[in-house]
């Protein structure tokens, strides 16, 4: 396949990359745009560590090809949610609840949880589990992640 120019809107910036049309978004983010917070864990859509928001929906960037994202779609990576000096409230909750072990799956967890909370600002424990169930963490940080999300929403839903 021949390389072609693509324009992507990533973290509110227009980025142009020359790339093969079937290149997975994951590797464009990591290699062309230096956004390495989006992780490679399986490459086949099973682990969720490569999750990014595309128009607010959590998608697996290893399964999204360059040719299938339009320049009008807004891509948000973990780097677009907050910085060390200015953490997003959910990122803060993850810090406060040590919602990680090695931290490798964590960006994907935070992205997926951000998408969940946008749709359902007050999820129950069961709703959290359902929404997050395809994000894998081998360190077993699940209880802490659930706690972080519950604390963030105050667990006010009955």
């Amino acid at each position: 396949m021949a390389k072609a120019w693509f324009t992507l809107n990533v973290n509110d910036k227009k980025r142009r990359v020359k790339i093969e049309p079937d290149e997975p978004l994951l590797w464009i983010l990591r290699d062309d745009l230096d956004l390495t917070g989006t992780k490679f864990g399986c490459g086949v859509g099973e682990c969720g560590s490569c999750s990014v928001l595309i128009d607010g929906i959590a998608r697996r960037s290893c399964r999204v090809q360059a040719q299938n994202v339009s320049s009008g779609q807004k891509i948000v990576t973990i780097e677009g949610l907050g910085t060390r000096e200015n953490l997003s409230p959910l990122q803060k909750a993850f810090v406060e609840h040590t919602a990680f072990g090695c931290g490798f799956c964590t960006p994907g967890m935070i992205i997926t949880a951000t998408a969940l909370l946008a749709l359902n600002p007050n999820p129950t424990r069961e709703e959290i589990i359902e929404a997050m169930d395809n994000n894998l963490c081998r360190c077993g940080s699940y209880p802490n992640v659930i706690e972080a999300i519950m604390a963030f929403t105050n667990g006010t839903k009955p």
Binding site: M1, E20, D22, E23, P24, W27, R30, D31, L35, T36, G37, T38, K39, F40, G41, C42, G43, V44, E46, C47, S49, T77, I78, E79, L81, G82, T83, R84, L87, Q91, F94, V95, E96, T98, F100, G101, C102, G103, F104, C105, T106, P107, I110, I128, I129, E130, M132, D133, N134, N135, L136, R138, C139, G140, S141, Y142, P143, N144, V145, I146
Partner: protein, 713 residues
Amino acid sequence: MEVTRRQFLKSLGSSCLLYAVSYVPGSGMQKIYSEPWPADKEDIECRFYALDTNYLDCFAFHEDGRVTVLAGRTELGQGFETVLNAIVTQGLDIPSNRLTIVLGNTDVCPDHGPTVGSSATEQVAWGIWEACSQLRKDIIRRAAKTHKLQVKDLIYQGGVVRSKREPERVIKPVETGRGEIVYMTLDPQASSSDRVTLEYKDLGLDNVNAESIVTGTRKYASDLKLPGTLYADWHIPPYHRKLTRIKSVDLADARATSGVNRVERIGSKVVALAERYNDVVKTLTRVKSVWEKPNRPKELRVEEEIRAGAVFQEIKEQTGDVNAGLASSYKTVTETYRTHYTAWAPIETYSALAKMEPGGDEVTIWSGSQYPHRVRELASLSLNLPESAIHFIHSPVGGAFGGKVAPPVSQEAADLSRRVGAPVKVIYSRKNQFQKRGLYKQACVFDFSTGVGTDGRLQARKLDIYQDLGEGTRDTYAAPHILIKHYRTDMPVNQANTRGTSYVQIGFAQESHMDMVAKAIGHDPFEFRRNNVVLESFVPLIDACADMIRYPRSGLGPDEGIGIGLCNHGARQMGVAAAHVKVNRKTGKVHVKEICAAYDIGTIINHRTVTTCLRGGMIWGLGWVLREEVKLDGHSVYTEHLTDYGVPRFSDTPEIKLQFLDNERPGKPRGCGELAVIPTVAAIANAVYHAIGVRFYTTPITPEKVLKALGKT
């Protein structure tokens, strides 16, 4: 490690005061050594044993008040850096922004052995705490000498020495000897005159890497890049690597892949290199190869083959006359348990970046490792370069669990970098992560014969352990007659330790068996254990678990059950877990509703770190006993995806309650990571028995097996 002035001046600048601290032999400070690397095996995870040693931690006091600590062991996601941070900031009374901790850089860090078996906190962190207490005293003495003051007039506070008489007078440690190296040998038994007495307080610190983790800015080895870096990965055989050899390979198609830089056969291996990882992936699907078919049956009869190939190793324990003890027992229970193959399956696959200098005589490697000095040693052998020419820099690891001690990925990256004259980053595909090394947590067989008296006390315990790696458990149960033998065996795949070490399998088997012994005489499993544990200090832990999980209780729903499991992990760490499960008779699925656990693990450095680690270990245990399995037969491994392997998920997550009875036997921290896994697997298996009255003699307890046992297939 030889601490050379040159090394330190190079790494720290000449204006610091440097302490190189060693520990006197016999002081309980141990380095874990690994057995020599067997020359006949290309790739194994090593076996370890502990030995007293002197080793050197280094503390550098800088002009600007910063302190650098160079220590052994590495951060693997278990929170070791956080633990060290908590200890040194308190030990030296400095804020955390003035402390730099360097771990896993072979140029400057001491060789403390591998970070395995939860020993880092106990052995390294606590040693550093002891060091801080004696360092404070020494710095006061030095200050008195250099500034002609009285020791009794000086105190150490806020990282400096102050005069009690003139509060304005401040002496920085570095002022007592710029560019000087002080060699200090610590004796934990040192008299109070040689130390400042410190009392550790758990301040509940955030993980020191939390902010970089949640913002995605923490750089794992797979995230590092140098200009001109090529990605690489391997084509692997379709058969067990130790049973096959490559016959022929056709690379024409692969070489025609657009974007590929090189496809090369190196010995029996084929590697693809490209600027883009996606091109490496595409290229590898086009490699055609023919391999020798293994010269053995395709069917793998695990238990039979383990027994057939067993070689007696040693008698682990022998007291009394076990056969006489069994013969005179009121009841005897004879059972066999068998476990299955599992994998580490970290979310970050093996990754390493290496840059060989032009000329090929010096290389820098970035990767995650549980034992950086071992990586350097192995790279030195395989690259035929002196160790001093190999600079290994430990990078954050996306999960290790015993599988990243010194994996070959570092050597591979270094070798490829030399071949292609560019930096090379090797990243294993998920399939390669599962299959390339051919190392798995082993299937084992355990034969038990246990005799018990009318009073419910164990009379005789006979146990044959068939386990290639590791050696079963420290004894949990007392009996007047004991005979435990250990056999090793050779199987088509090699054996490796994972989280929970080699105690997981026997933990499952022994605790399942003890339940059956209790049953044989009609005793309650909790009470039976209270009567038979080898250490009295188990009893409060059992009580705590019974209490938390409300056992015994009436009103458990249908097909619900509660089970208990114990673990004695080396006499210094004890854990008990109780699990509450519900079995779905339609699907056969075991749902773990709750796990409660109590631990006796000594002083807790950072409660938050320990809790996170323990919960993670419990989920690991749940996965091992109910979900995970590497599918293999006598020829091949078939597992290549995380989902068919069965890594536990959010929906498997039980409610977890923990209690620490560290007041029972306070003292130095004793580590805990492994301790979470072992009692959990046993508690779940026993809860399943309590729920449906079916004992499972093989793991994992899958829905298929449950349905079959319930007569529903």
